[in-house]
């Protein structure tokens, strides 16, 4: 077996294992009792095995690769192949297959690792679901008693396995159509997991909202795919077996589009003419709409905060580290078909979300909502990275963010578990002495998230900063290089630096309020202690990764591994001569030249934010209430989540509801009475017809029968059975006949 086929076999098995787990758990649920912990064991076993296989594939990849680590663009190494052709129409083929490059391997290891951590963690976190009657203390019956329902431990693990399978499917796919299938599956399993507490109204609404808002983005995704299929004739992202793939065919389509005026919206000239440039931009924007929906970016960002209604381990896996990152992953994979205009839109969407999310995180009162807003904001930063051409920086940040954000969510879960499901920051505080391990690991996560580091100090050539510091630096320097080339987009740089400041402020605020402030009265009564090992072990492992996964910064192993896949850099447009694009791409050298400056500015901004947070929440030199009064308008807007929810409700949801109400009323007051009247009429008609049948026809038939019967009875009296009587009668009849004969006979002879 060659190394390549070993890698393929490993990843395929790792991909299918969670699905196997889901099926096994679903079958188990038919037999095993709800008290059984078997679903958890099966789930953990499957994802752990998948993680092992993904790591094995990674080791084989590294061991056999000829790539040298460094800043040079390395030789592309990629395994692409088909398993099965789903459909083929002439030259048009829809194969199912795989594409494996270093990014795939990194993503596989990442997703399976976090999934394993979450599976393990849920063994304890959801242990109270292993019962026949789970008491939901968030719901109250008519007398205020908690609502009872059967526990759903197996259901949870089945959905978690399905999600992992779908996410790995996205990563492994080699074509847009295949990605789309798993994209939807991911959305569906996310729907299941958000609505896990389906008895709660808020959870139902949140799962509904997430599903619908994702559909909005998916419409764009489908439109984008349609345009690409029409103009490029393929949906494959990577060439396999000599079949052309999107990068080449799209470049050809762009070349052809140069001959068409840019303001020609008619699309194609006839069936064979070249597509217009606008249409090609629209294709990219369509795909990005899908990414925006999935990654909860402005303007489709409102679903992610509500998604926190799901169990906390789900938030850690689905809504911070992996599923929402799928949008960024897709944006990175489709970069070859994104024209500079589309990328510019992406960058601006990214900074808008970055600032919106950070501002909302700064004022949110719910522990998990702070993290959710922070996720939105960090994803915006990744999309900004892709938009400005810092492709590998964005993916680098995607990986490090997954580590520290899942760490933070699991830490939050540990807190919530310890304090018996209290999430309001105002009712929490002073937990550090009682949850030392959680406090320490979350501090690492917070420092990684805020990108803090000790400046100008290095040990063994390493700067003293955690993973987030390196990856955020990379994005900021990418943005700076871009802005230096295109000074008209200075706003991007300002926003990203402001974002870094806000990030440090809100993440430190979160930690200080949770662990450093004084203990509220109701908490001092509670017995609070760390959870058992399935809760603390993932925290420690993820803390180690959040701290050290980015060792070496952009020259480190992780960044280099991601860079190996970076053959799809934007700026391919330079090959299409004769057209000046709206922006100019910065080359990697320029990025490196300003790396120090960018790092220094970001670090200053982050320290500034951290100092403010420390002053307000740590030392209380500045009163938080005064500060929020000072920035009254912004505080108000951010607390109201910038009115997006209310706007959507007013302008989209409400009109639909009103329309639906009208349609419902029309149904009820017009259609229903019509149908009722029709039914009543036919009842009337049939009653009348019954009366006719019974009153006339039946009576006629009965009367005839009765007549025949009674005449038969009366005639029967004549039949005495006495022969002599018959003879007498016959004789009498003869006599009578003769008498008659003689009486009327015309006179005799």
């Amino acid at each position: 077996m060659t190394a390549d086929s070993l890698i393929i076999a490993c990843l395929t098995t790792a991909w299918l294992l969670p699905l196997f787990g889901t099926v096994a758990i679903s079958l188990l649920r038919l037999r095993a009792s709800r008290l059984s912990g078997l679903p958890g064991v099966v789930g953990v076993g499957c994802v752990t095995a998948a993680w092992g296989l993904a790591c094995l594939a990674g080791i084989v990849w590294l061991a056999t690769g000829s790539s040298e680590v460094g800043h040079e663009v390395l030789e592309q190494r990629r395994l692409v192949g088909d398993w099965y052709t789903l459909a083929s129409f002439g030259a048009l083929k829809f194969p199912l297959g795989y594409a494996i490059d270093s990014l795939t391997i990194v993503m596989f290891a990442l997703v399976t690792l976090i999934s394993t951590a979450v599976h393990l963690y849920s063994l304890v976190y959801l242990a109270d679901e292993r019962t026949e009657c789970y008491l939901d203390h968030h719901l109250h019956g008519p007398k205020g008693e908690p609502v009872e329902r059967p526990g759903r431990f197996g259901h949870f693990y089945a959905a978690l396995g399905l999600f992992t399978f779908a996410m790995l499917g996205i990563v492994l796919a080699h074509g847009l159509l295949q990605i789309f299938v798993f994209w939807e599956l991911v959305g569906f399993s996310s729907y299941l997991l958000i609505g896990f507490y389906q008895e709660r109204w808020a959870a139902r609404q949140a799962s509904f909202k997430a599903f619908l808002m994702n559909r909005v983005g998916d419409v764009g995704f489908v439109l984008g795919m349609t345009i690409l299929l029409a103009t490029c004739g393929t949906l494959l992202l990577f060439p396999s077996h000599g079949a052309p793939a999107l990068p080449e065919t799209f470049a050809a389509a762009v070349d052809a589009a140069q001959s068409v005026p840019a303001d020609d919206f008619s699309g194609t000239h006839g069936m064979s003419g070249p597509a217009s440039y606008t249409l090609l931009v629209a294709a990219g924007l369509g795909l990005l709409a899908g990414c925006v929906g999935k990654s909860a970016q402005f303007p489709l960002h409102t679903w992610l905060v509500d998604a926190m209604e799901g169990p906390t381990p789900v938030s850690a896996l689905v809504h911070s580290a992996t599923m929402v990152a799928a949008g960024v992953y897709l944006a990175a994979r489709v970069v070859p078909v994104l024209l500079p205009e589309a990328l510019l839109v992406l960058a601006y969407v990214g900074i808008t979300t970055l600032l919106l999310g950070a501002s909302m995180a700064l004022v949110a009162r719910d522990l998990k909502q702070v993290l959710a807003h922070s996720t939105i904001s960090q994803l915006g930063m990744m999309l900004l990275g892709i938009g400005v051409g810092a492709w590998e920086a964005a993916l680098f940040h995607l990986v490090t963010h997954a580590f520290f954000k899942s760490l933070l969510f699991l830490g939050a879960g540990s807190v919530i578990y310890a304090v018996h499901h209290e999430q309001d920051l105002d009712r929490l505080g002073g937990l550090r002495p009682r949850l030392p391990l959680t406090a320490f690991t979350m501090l690492i996560g917070v420092l990684a998230l805020s990108g803090l580091a000790v400046p100008y100090v290095t040990i063994f050539g390493e700067s003293l900063g955690f993973s987030g510091f390196h990856s955020k630096d990379a994005i900021v320097s990418g943005t700076m290089a871009f802005v230096l080339k295109n000074p008209q987009h200075l706003l991007l740089l300002v926003a990203v630096i402001l974002g870094a400041c806000l990030t440090a402020a809100y993440s430190l605020r979160l930690w200080l309020r949770l662990f450093a402030s004084e203990t509220p009265a109701h908490l001092s009564m509670l017995k609070i202690h760390e959870g058992p090992w399935p809760i603390t072990l993932p925290l420690v492992v993820l803390a180690v990764l959040a701290a050290f996964s980015a060792l070496g910064g952009e020259g480190g192993w992780l960044s280099s591994l991601v860079q190996q896949s970076a053959g799809l850099m934007p700026g391919f447009g330079s090959g299409t001569a004769g057209r000046t694009f709206v922006v100019q791409w910065a080359d990697p050298e320029a990025r490196h030249a300003i790396h120090g400056t960018a790092g220094a500015i970001t670090l200053t901004a982050a320290w500034l934010g951290a100092l403010i947070a420390w002053a307000v929440y740590g030392q209380r030199i500045i009163s938080a209430a005064d500060l929020s009064r000072q920035f009254g308008a912004i505080t108000h807007l951010a607390t109201a989540r910038w009115y997006f929810d209310r706007l959507y409700r007013m302008f989209l949801v409400q009109p639909v509801l009103v329309l639906a109400g009208h349609v419902g009323r029309m149904d009820k007051w017009i259609l229903d009475p019509l149908i009722d009247a029709g039914a009543a009429f036919s009842v009337r008609v049939s009653a009348w017809s019954r009366w006719c049948d019974e009153g006339i026809i039946d009576k006629l038939v009965d009367g005839f029968g009765r007549g025949v019967w009674s005449s038969g009875l009366s005639l029967r009296k004549a039949q005495t059975g006495h022969i002599r009587q018959y003879v007498l009668l016959a004789a009498a009849a003869v006599v009578v006949l003769f008498l008659l004969l003689f009486a009327w006979m015309p006179g005799g002879k």
Binding site: Q719, T720, G721, H722, I723, R724, V727, L728, A731
Partner: protein
């Protein structure tokens, strides 16, 4: 002797036969009445053959009546025997089973 005399005798015979059929409860008595009626008819036929232009036809018809009467007597006696076998009597008034 005129035709009237013959017809009178035949009529008397017919009436006697009829009365016999009507009054006798004994099956064989009824049978005898039937014979009397048949013979009165025969007498009429023969008398008409002798005194009218009917000629030989009347006498031949009378022969037919005699033959049929013989056949009828055979059948009727068989019926009477079976009647006795079933009812242990030859009283025709007891035989009203078909009515039920």
């Amino acid at each position: 002797m005129t035709l009237g005399a013959y017809l009178t005798v035949a009529a008397v015979l017919f009436a006697a036969g009829l009365t016999c059929m009507m009054t006798k409860r004994h099956a064989l008595g009824v049978l005898m009445g039937v014979e009397l009626v048949l013979n009165s008819a025969c007498l009429n036929l023969v008398a008409f053959a002798r005194y009218t232009a009917l000629g030989i036809d009347g006498q031949i018809f009378a022969l037919f009546v005699i033959v049929i009467a013989a056949a009828e007597a055979a059948v009727a006696l068989a019926i009477a025997l079976n009647y006795y076998n079933n009812f242990l009597t030859v009283d025709v008034d007891r035989g009203d089973e078909l009515k039920r």
